[in-house]
Symmetry: C2
DNA sequence: TATACTGTGTATATAGATATAAACAGTATA
DNA sequence: TATACTGTTTATATCTATATACACAGTATA
């Protein structure tokens, strides 16, 4: 099973953290159901072309946060996560991410209207590509 | 002179990079005019309660990118930056930041409409606080 | 039972980020 | 000229992130 995860190589964000965030989003958003088997740390490290230590770090953190459950010899599975928690994680993540985007605009001295314009433009491009369905941007 | 810079301590982004991005935004957005003196690396390190090495790293990178100009013994000043470059930096930064926010929403299985809702909510809060004027979010 | 997978632990190594400190060289002012 | 600032260089140190490798223990299947 391949996870739809992409690493931004030019990003200053640690790799393990990128993995963590993306897996969390998939779980909170319902793409990954409780009980679903995740790729092994070795498989994921091969797929993403990174070290096992790094994938392990991501999985460890996710397990500590209650999103996954790991058993030696068996593998790693999506945990049961309360709907409330999923909702909370989702809302917080999206709110913060959008807030950050808006803040970037303001910091560049863009007006709210200008920021809205850019936002609308991106959304328009999305609709044009029908990207709602596959859920990703380039 | 105090720079309106804030470090996100819980962020995984390196400190020097946070400084870099924020100073770049201030310059590109016109908040900092060419010739303006920036705080010395020592003053900034004191203000932000970080190491001189870290502030220097940020300033070095900004200088390499042509945003500032540094002279031993005199200090560091905002460089002349072409309007085209400023515009490009601004548009790219805002576009990418908003795009990332939208992507976060999609990854959490939010529809475009839902994402728009959150965006609108944030903007409404902004307008409510009259934050357009001071240009920052909490 | 052997093999192939799984996670866990350990080791070594390198690069990056950041801290503190000291010294040197340049600038500005009293 | 002394002092206070400026940036530059160097050194030492610690922590984090990541890489590679190996061995151990657990699971599943042929």
């Amino acid at each position: 099973m391949d996870l739809p995860i992409r690493l931004a190589k030019d990003s200053k964000t640690p790799i393990y953290h990128q993995i963590e965030e993306q897996v969390k989003a998939l779980i909170a958003g319902g793409h990954l159901q409780a009980g679903t088997a995740l790729p092994s740390i070795r498989a994921l490290s091969k797929e993403l072309e990174i070290s096992v230590i790094t994938t392990r770090r991501a999985y460890l953190n996710l397990e500590q946060q209650g999103f996954i459950k790991t058993t030696q010899g068996k593998g790693t599975f999506v945990a049961e996560v309360e709907a409330d928690k999923k909702k909370e994680v989702t809302v917080a993540a999206i709110y913060q991410a959008l807030e950050k985007g808006i803040e970037t605009g303001l910091r560049h001295d863009y007006s709210i209207e200008q920021i809205e314009e850019v936002f609308t433009e991106i959304i328009a491009k999305l609709k044009e590509k029908g990207e709602k369905a596959n859920g990703e941007l380039d």
